[in-house]
């Protein structure tokens, strides 16, 4: 009986292909995203191939200009009644407003079938939920808090070991300075400074204080001596930058390490793409440090959300797409090109590079990984703090106490 039914369905399907021509050869899903750089679109291409091989038909809507350009486009389409099948978001609270308005399709059934709970780290499993329902299919895991260093520069300065504490780090930075090189390649754009500050906050301040500030938005944690200590370390780093740092792009700063002009850079793992592009090898030409202090891995990434569609066929394509995104093949294919690590912990990661291995090792231990600040807190709070951190960095006359006090004020205002 079932076979008969399959045959019947197959025949009908064939007929409909014959009738409608070439276009109906798969479950069509329009995917809106902002991955447009060389490496990024290659990664998307890989994912699309896996989806097409599984019987889907990937319709690519890539919007250049980053999330802040692409997100409003997607939002307007959703609000205007012409939603894409799937839309990229950064992992975290960005999707909450849409979910709150009932515009997103809950993925609870798909997640249960695919056993997402078992294959994701608890932190990520929580991050794709809103009010108890799952709305996002996560695709990748980016490490935010790396310190990359140039091995030739370390050698020239006579540094033999990776620094493990901030005292050692400052001693090493002094050595680099004495060798006539730039100790820290700072990209002075506010978001880069924010990332740098949080790198120190997580490493030196520790996991607890980091989570209290960003997850619980607990102002008491900001008033601690430990936080002040972190702020002082951050401020001290001003003395190790070069004059060209204001408004410098992150990839230009990475270029200073590639050219062996500067010692270290605070940046996420996407910087690895720049090194690889310049034919530099992890472990030989450059290295990566988690820390100094505690070596906790700060992770964030991208998810896809699925707007509610009335058309059943289109909804079916969404299901297939969500399953593809979370499949082992999809995860490996995408992440090997993107520079991030797979979000599933059960895929074979032996082919990934040294830094990625370091990251995965940390992610497997729930006590050594946290979500990034822009996953934990609303954009509004994160970015208001970004302004403050940038102001603190560029204005040495602002005292640490003023900085702490204004931070507290910002958190209270944004609540």
């Amino acid at each position: 009986m079932r076979r008969l039914l399959t045959a019947f369905l197959g025949a009908t399907a064939l007929l409909s292909i014959a009738v409608t021509g070439a276009h109906a050869d798969g479950k069509k899903a329009e995917v809106l995203h902002w991955w447009t750089s060389g490496g990024e679109s290659a990664a998307v291409g890989e994912l699309a191939n896996v989806f097409n091989a599984a019987g889907g038909q990937w319709v690519d809507t890539a919007i250049a200009g980053g999330g802040s350009t692409a997100r409003p486009v997607g939002l307007n389409r959703i609000l205007g009644g012409n939603p894409p099948s799937a839309m990229q978001f950064n992992t975290g609270t960005q999707m909450n407003d849409l979910a709150d308005q009932g515009l997103l399709r809950p993925l609870d059934d798909i997640a249960e079938q695919g056993k997402w709970k078992d294959v994701l780290t608890p932190a990520f499993y929580n991050a794709i939920q809103y009010k108890g329902h799952i709305y996002g299919a996560p695709i990748n895991d980016h490490g935010y808090n790396w310190i990359f260093y140039s091995k030739p520069v370390f050698e020239k300065a006579g540094i033999t070991e990776e620094p493990k504490t901030w005292d050692e780090m400052f001693a090493d930075l002094n050595k680099i300075k004495a060798a006539g090189l730039i100790p820290v390649a700072v990209g002075g754009q506010p978001w880069e400074l924010q990332s740098m500050f949080n790198n120190i906050l997580l490493g030196e301040g520790g996991r607890d204080i980091y989570l209290k500030i960003w997850k619980d938005q607990d102002t008491a944690a900001v008033k601690t001596d430990k936080f002040k200590h972190v702020a002082e370390i951050f401020a001290k780093l001003r003395n190790y930058q070069d004059v060209g740092s204001p408004n410098r792009d992150w990839n230009v700063a990475t270029g200073m390490l590639i050219d062996n002009k500067a010692g270290i850079q605070f940046m996420g793992d996407w910087a690895k793409g720049e090194f690889i592009h310049a034919n530099k090898v992890v472990g030989k030409d450059f290295g990566c440090i988690l820390g100094p202090g505690s070596s906790t891995f700060m992770m964030g990434g991208d998810i896809f959300v699925f707007p509610i569609l009335k058309d059943a066929v289109a909804a079916d394509a969404q299901t297939l797409l969500a399953n593809t995104i979370m499949s082992k093949d999809g995860q490996l294919a995408f992440n090997s090109k993107k520079g991030s690590i797979p979000i599933r912990l059960d895929v074979d990661t032996s082919k990934l590079d040294l830094c990625a291995q370091k990251g995965i090792e940390a992610v497997k231990d729930p006590n050594r990984s946290v979500l990034s600040y822009d996953v934990l807190a609303p954009q509004d709070i994160v970015q208001s703090n970004t302004d403050l951190i940038a102001q603190y960095w560029t204005n040495p006359s602002m005292t640490t106490d003023q900085f702490v006090q204004q931070w507290v004020q910002l958190m209270e205002q944004a609540k």
Binding site: Q94, Q189, P246, A390, N395, Q413
Partner: protein, 295 residues
């Protein structure tokens, strides 16, 4: 009488589409913007009224204060700079010099460039590791320091400089047209009276050029209020947040920061500020004088 009314009617009919556009595209959106600024809108506009909370937060935000101060500094220096330089260029060209056309094209040329291109060019010129300073270093003038763009308290002047470079050509063109409109007889009369040329320009020509100056000022003021891409391309608002401007504040909160409520309240404040400054002045300049029958 009837034909006059008919003519009036057809004028209204012709203006009707424009009227509809103004009503819906401008007045209605301004009204909606003001309403949204009193709501708890974050990523999406919602209709939850929260009173003046957005405004309270706005005026407690350091970045907004910096933005407002910057736009005032930029506005005053930019408009004054453009007017003075534009007028001097126009006077220079008005001396019936050779190659006037060539010079006019050269001076007007920067205006053909967008603020983005202008900003980028000046960013490179002023960058101490790429531009003027590093060139001077390279040829041995290591005493030469020109690093305003990386200094907290000077970077805004770089933006003023770039803005003046871009827009003074436009002012020159407008002023030159005004100068050419002045009766030659006037010059003859002053020459007979033996008045020095600079006094003629200062005390006779400038007052005659008043409407021209007003036109130029209005045009420049519009670019001051909406200044956004120039800052974005030149300093990105940095170092830190020291060159932020209201336009950028609004754009950032509207899109990147998903706080429509705060963005619209900033836009409303900007709108009211413009109305308070511009409307009485425009009224005084255009309508009052018309009534007196001077213009």
């Amino acid at each position: 009488m009837r034909t006059a009314r008919k003519r009036q009617l057809s004028a209204y009919v012709a203006l009707f589409p424009a009227f509809v556009i103004v009503l819906f595209a401008y007045v209605a959106t301004v009204g909606w913007n003001i309403w949204i600024s009193f709501t708890d809108s974050k990523l999406l506009p919602v209709n939850t009224f929260i009173g003046t909370k957005n405004y309270e937060r706005l005026f407690n935000t350091a970045r907004w204060d910096i933005s407002v101060i910057n736009v005032v500094v930029f506005g005053v220096l930019f408009i004054a700079g453009c007017l003075v330089l534009g007028f001097l260029l126009a006077v220079a060209l008005d001396q019936r010099i050779r190659f006037e056309n060539t010079f006019r094209t050269i001076f007007l040329y920067p205006f053909a460039m967008s603020f983005i291109v202008t900003g980028l060019v000046w960013q490179w010129i002023m960058n101490p590791t790429l531009g003027l300073q590093s060139s001077a270093d390279a040829i041995g003038f290591s005493w030469f320091r020109f690093d305003w763009i990386v200094q907290n308290d000077r970077a805004i002047y770089v933006i003023v400089l770039a803005g003046i470079w871009q827009s003074s050509g436009l002012v020159m063109a407008i002023m030159l047209a005004g100068l050419r409109g002045i009766d030659r007889e006037l010059w003859k009369a002053t020459r007979i009276d033996g008045i020095p040329a600079w006094r003629v320009y200062l005390h006779i020509v400038l007052p005659i050029l008043r409407p021209t100056i007003i036109t130029a000022t209005v045009l420049l003021s519009i670019s001051v209020v909406r200044v956004y891409e120039l800052v974005l391309a030149t300093t990105g608002g940095g170092p830190g947040i020291s060159t932020e401007v209201p336009g950028k504040f609004i754009m950032d909160y509207l899109f990147g920061r998903s706080n429509i409520g705060l963005a619209t309240s900033a836009a409303t404040v900007l709108f009211i500020a413009v109305v308070i400054v511009v409307v009485p002045w425009l009224y005084a300049e255009y309508f009052r004088e018309k009534r007196r029958g001077i213009v």
